[in-house]
């Protein structure tokens, strides 16, 4: 516990400054649970769709519709937590303010692409567009937090998005078999999600847990 009585040495002062700034930085980075949840939902929808295309259990977009419902439900749950239970982070950072706007822009653009795929744009084009949007979000996120895994994930996502965009030219599909090409797009989408959301998310979560443990140790050893 921090007390007032002990005289501070120069090193003590620097240690306090460093610890507190690290704490604030970690607060901005968060525990990565948002990326992990979003990533696993996207991955489940991609793999579900791949299997569904293979075995023809349900309609082609069943898993994506289920994903949409889950996303809406989670969105309502998150909003409810803030509105009804007044759960706030207790701190406003300049980065968190930018993230809020970035997330609004991301979800509006995502919605735009989803609507576009429902009014005529082929899913073979729509999903690569979504992948490029994921890459954009991840790059900005990584750059603002100086978190390299997100930046690397963004570039991998863009490479995969480009490959997915040209899948109809790269892969020779049986005549009129769009589902064969769509399966490949889903495979690339799943790979992109792993690199862009899941790996950075789990790394951020590990870092967060390590730093939390470190903080506890520091607090115990503090005078």
């Amino acid at each position: 516990m921090l007390r007032e009585e002990k005289p501070l040495s120069g090193h003590d002062s620097l240690l306090i400054i460093q610890q507190m700034i690290d704490t604030a930085k970690q607060e901005q980075k968060g525990d990565g649970m948002g990326w992990i949840l979003w990533g696993w939902l996207l991955l489940a929808a991609s793999i579900g769709t791949i299997l569904n295309l293979q075995y023809q259990w349900l309609s082609t977009f069943f898993f994506w519709n289920a994903f949409g419902l889950a996303a809406v439900f989670l969105g309502i749950f998150a909003a409810g937590k803030v509105i009804f239970f007044k759960k706030t982070d207790g701190v406003k950072t300049y980065t968190s303010e930018i993230f809020k706007k970035l997330n609004v822009g991301f979800f509006i653009s995502l919605l735009f692409i989803i609507v576009a795929t429902n009014v005529g744009v082929s899913p073979l084009r729509g999903f690569p567009l979504m992948m490029s949007l994921y890459g954009f979000w991840s790059l900005i996120h990584g750059a603002l937090l100086n978190f390299k895994p997100s930046i690397i994930g963004a570039y991998i996502m863009w490479v995969l998005a480009f490959v997915a965009l040209f899948i109809p030219r790269i892969i020779e599909a049986p005549v009129n078999d769009q589902s064969y090409l769509f399966t490949w797009v889903m495979v690339l989408h799943a790979l992109g999600v792993i690199c862009c959301y899941l790996i950075p998310g789990h790394l951020a979560n590990n870092e967060f847990r390590k730093s939390s443990t470190g903080r506890l140790v520091n607090e115990r050893t503090r005078v």
Binding site: G10, D12, S13, I17
Partner: protein, 100 residues
């Protein structure tokens, strides 16, 4: 060997809890009292006194309001506080360099 005493350093900042609070509020846009209490692992009474001292020195702005019948205190660093913190870090660096 006892720790060296730096009389020339800003006495308002040269205290564990006040320095911790300043280091936190300089890193964020604004912070609630509960956040500062949690991150500095201090007691509400002690933190309240130190926050008041920083406020009196003009280093932070303290806003007290009510949110759903609960008091909500938020702290924000002032330009004077930023300058003082920068000067403190600079002075600290020069002392540490002198010791090398």
């Amino acid at each position: 060997m006892s720790a060296p005493v730096f009389n020339e350093l800003d006495p308002i900042l040269h205290s564990q809890l006040r320095l911790a609070v300043m280091s936190l509020v300089i890193s964020v846009k604004e912070a609630e009292f509960t956040f500062l209490k949690e991150k500095t692992n201090s007691t509400a009474g002690n933190l309240s006194v130190q926050v008041q001292k920083l406020k009196d020195a003009g280093y932070i702005d303290v806003t007290k309001q009510f949110k759903d019948n609960y008091p909500l205190t938020t702290c924000k660093i002032t330009p004077k506080g930023v300058s003082a913190f920068e000067a403190y870090v600079k002075a600290l660096q020069s002392y540490l360099n002198m010791g090398k």
